[in-house]
Amino acid sequence: MNNNLNEMQQDAIGELLNIGLGQAAAAFSEQVQQEVLLSIPNISFYTLQEASNVLEKLIGSEACLLIQTFSGPIWGDALLALTPQDSLEIIEILLPPHTEQERRQQEAEVLTHIGTLILSTTLKSLQSLFPDPIKMGKKQFKKGAVYTLLDESTTTFHYRTGTALVLCMSLTLAEKKQSCYISIIMNHEALQALKTDLDHLLNLV
């Protein structure tokens, strides 16, 4: 099975996700009342261990993770990852009058709300490729070691020796630089479905 995306397919998916990320940033910016800086999407094939290493380099070995599965014409896992410190600081921005204890109690609920908003808005950008809807499935908020969280919570690294397509992007709050890292992970079969529809889009241009 050919896992590679050619240059134009990578360009197209990068641009579609860039559009989704821009809309997610605008929605997030309204919630936190400040500008949100966007990264450029990076597209790579990783094993579970490699994906874990990449995330650990960005946020350290401990993470707060929201995992949103999606299904339909393409399927996989979308992740929002933050450092525990950035997670609490974002809650502080969103819930300023609350005590630290109250913020810790509401962390899962608030980050699930924000994370779902960001991930579903980003994924919606891929919807233009497909006539059938991309459906949002189970979502889980977890804290812990990055490798363990990815291993236990994602469905796309089921075959541990295999690679998956990992699309990485980030949103960073302009004032104090708290960052959220977004990854969309798709297995080989989902990638084939995506490639077919990317080619259809490219043939129209």
Binding site: E7, M8, D11, A12, G14, E15, N18, I19, G20, L21, G22, Q23, A25, A26, S29, E35, V36, L38, I40, S128, L202, V205
Partner: protein, 117 residues
């Protein structure tokens, strides 16, 4: 009708192709200069008279706003437009402050033809 020259700066080749196609719907005689980065754009405009520009914001290297500022000095009479997926109010305000138009992605024929008409 005068033949115009348009600079299209975007790190996405797909977007550059789409902009070029849409511009040629309205103005098939226009010259289009494509650049995949700010650095490439600055090299390619040397010795050219640029009349119209679309500039992406989020690119590796020089970002679109910085590039727009430099090109504004070089081509003060040109029509410039920030063409970006970053639809935050703060970005639109910066574009407005710089005196350039703002067009949001995803691009459509209507948006591009509207800009160059």
């Amino acid at each position: 009708m005068t033949v115009q020259t348009m600079l299209v700066v975007d790190d996405s080749r797909l977007t550059r192709m789409m902009v070029k196609n849409f511009v040629h719907v309205a103005h098939p005689e226009w010259n289009i200069i494509e650049a995949g980065s700010g650095e490439e754009a600055l090299q390619k405009v040397n010795g050219e008279q640029i009349d119209w520009m679309t500039i992406d914001l989020n690119m590796p290297g020089i970002d679109g706003m910085e590039l727009a500022e430099q090109l504004k000095h070089q081509f003060p009479q040109a029509n410039m437009c920030l063409l970006t997926a970053n639809v935050q109010k703060s970005v639109q305000q910066r574009a407005s402050k710089l005196g350039i138009s703002f067009v949001s992605k995803p691009i459509t024929e209507e948006k591009i033809v509207g800009y160059v008409s």
